[in-house]
Amino acid sequence: MEQSRNSAPGALLSVRGITKAFSLNAVLKGIDLDVGSGDVVALIGGNGAGKSTLMKIIMGIYQPDGGELYVAGEKATLGSPTAALARGIYMVPQEPLLFPNMTVEENIVVGFSEKPAVLHRRLVELMEENGWELDLSRKASSLSIAEQQLVELLRGLLRNARVLILDEPTSALTFDEVESLFKCVESLKSKGIGIIYITHRLAEVFEIATHVAIMRDGVITLSGPVGNFDRDMLVQGLLPPNMETQADKGVNEDVEIDYTGLPPVFELQNYSGYGFSNVDLKVYPGEILGVAGVVGAGRTELATTIFGRDKVLGGKAILDGADITGLSTKKVLCAGINYVPEDRHLNGLFKISDVAANTTSGLLDQKELGSFFLNVKKEAEITKKYVDDFRIKITGQDQLTGSLSGGNQQKIVIGRALSTSPKLVILDEPTRGIDAAARGDVYNIIHQLRNQGVAVMLISSDMEEIVELSDRAVTVFQGRINGEFAKKDINQDNLMAAAFGVTGGKQVQQ
């Protein structure tokens, strides 16, 4: 008891017995964690396990209800981020917290006391070292999520922190960027910097971590040097004590679809818009069409344009024989397309509204919920259906969605998209930032849809996901479709090559 209360010898950061509750919800129930010099501690755990909360406590954003923090062996009270920063701790948050009206450079250097010129030089060097490209004079509000994440990383790296916390840094990054981040982490490791690395991708744990800790329900259930574990042990550690291992691997036992003579439910003809051009595409009922590509390829723009969020510059979109080109979102929805946006916080969630309102928000223009008055019974019914079907963990239908974990939030957004009984569902990065269990649930949902004969367009930057789920796949490169693959040809190598514009060993001509 006395022993564990103290800092581990030589640790840069030690956490002892930290507890934290949000009103009655006990999130952390006595956490011990050590980060030594040159350690990369991979912290894994399901959505809502309390990982981010712990990190926010270390960063001084939240105050713990109990427990102690030791920085370099000294007991520390971190009352504010300023105090944490002063002790050399920096966190790259899970949700990028940029200053939208500032430029990229201002965003990175704000709060530093060094001369701007010096900072600028260091920043440029850092970017060159990692091979990251970003226009430093762009406004942060124009950045995509991935770019925002890069900015956050640059901030952290430029800080020369002694303890660096990376909260799901790779969830939005491209393959290349992840590679260079890992290189960067290696070099930090060798400089003796301690890193806490939060991720949902187990592969990453084995690639860069020295230690691993698994959090479940507010306690650390498993921890130690990474060499002591293998993948299955981690998966086992993540799952609740008596649960079958069915979740992670969405089973794709279905037979191949026979496309001959099958009319497409949705078709794009020479479709052009901002961020993509001359797209020809067919989606068939009951198939999952994977849309692969690197972040920034223009897939989101393609999807949002179909969905009536942006102007169509040319071509046609046809759903079930009806021309839906350039219709408003409302009409596209009625016609039978729904879209799960990639940025659920910005475009998906009503955080201070309850679960029921979130789930049924897409139905407000339909008679189903009543003609003038809102049919509350019906609303509860529909909500219950999706909560049950998707196993969404809530305390009640009146819980505010802002207080749900990411995975459950995502399921609600998907539930909403399905509530309008669409013929085509476009899922944009549906599993970003959600844990293995939730991911499995989402995969199951996608399969269910397919089996019900709904056409699914799955936009994902996670090639594994495309490989696992798709019946057919296309790749998008610089706003154009540059490859189409039948089920048997879908594999990581093919997709990757096409996504980077390299097909059959040669660069695609522009």
Binding site: P93, L97, L98, F99, V110, G111, S142, Y274, S277, N482
Partner: protein
Amino acid sequence: MNTLKKITKIREINSLFFLIALFAIVGMVNPAFLAPTTLFNCFNDSVVFTLLATGIAFVILTGEIDVSIGATLGLSAAISSSLLRDGASWFVAIAAGLLAGVVVGLINGFGVSTLGIPSLIFTLGTNGVVRGMIYVYTGGAWVENLPASFTKLSQVKLFGNLTIFYLVVLLGVIAAHIALTHTRRGRYFIAVGDNAAGATLVGIPAKRTKILAYVLCGVLASVAGIIYSSRIGFITPTAGNGYEMKAIAACVLGGISLSGGLGSLLGASIGAVIMSSVSRILVFLGFSSDYDNTITGILLITIVVIDALTQNRAATKSRHERLAARTGPAHAKKGGAAK
């Protein structure tokens, strides 16, 4: 070309262009408007609003609002000028007026920042209390017959026709503008308004910055009150009634976003000149005073609508340009090699 584009992106420059265009149009209708005296007086007369607008700009930049500044102006004016009238020393009178501003600012800052109460609600409350205090303090009577030495100050002019008040205030605004844009701590105000959580994360004391913004706002409102006393020479208990809205409008005219984190003090001061010149402009345009409110309204709405539309269009355009650039040279040959 590129620099020109960059310059027009600076919002306060747009406001300045607008001010110049407005004055030019009025000057075309009535050349007397362009007489140096008149032109200078547009600026001289804006001194109270310049102070109020720059004061509230601090608060708006941090993403909050303060609707109590009109009352604060009135209270400071009443306190300072009644002390002066009753023979107190200048130092005491001015210090007392400023103290009132500091106190109101601290209370607002405490309520909004420490207690976390939405700023509109909290400052609505302090507005009522402070406005009532003026009636209590003055008993509802006017404060009149201020010492001539004090009211004469407003007539001291330099460089031809610029009052010393405006000159000092303008220099102050420029200094504060530079401090805000070019110093580390100055950037804090904008950072806090842009993203308070993000600011906290990089070690910016968001709460303290907000309190400071309110105190600065209160102090500037009381400076405005003291200058108001000197300029007007008599203080009614309704002094400054409704000025908060005009000051907010001035900020918006000067390119400050009410959601915080965007804009500059210089913009606020330009907006203040536009806002306070309206009634003068109407006199020169020969409009019947019956049109006063109508034209003020049309002017205000037109400016903000045009500004919003151009900003939105510019944002959309740059986004579209960036997106179009991704698809490579326009209408290149279709697709790539499909498998």
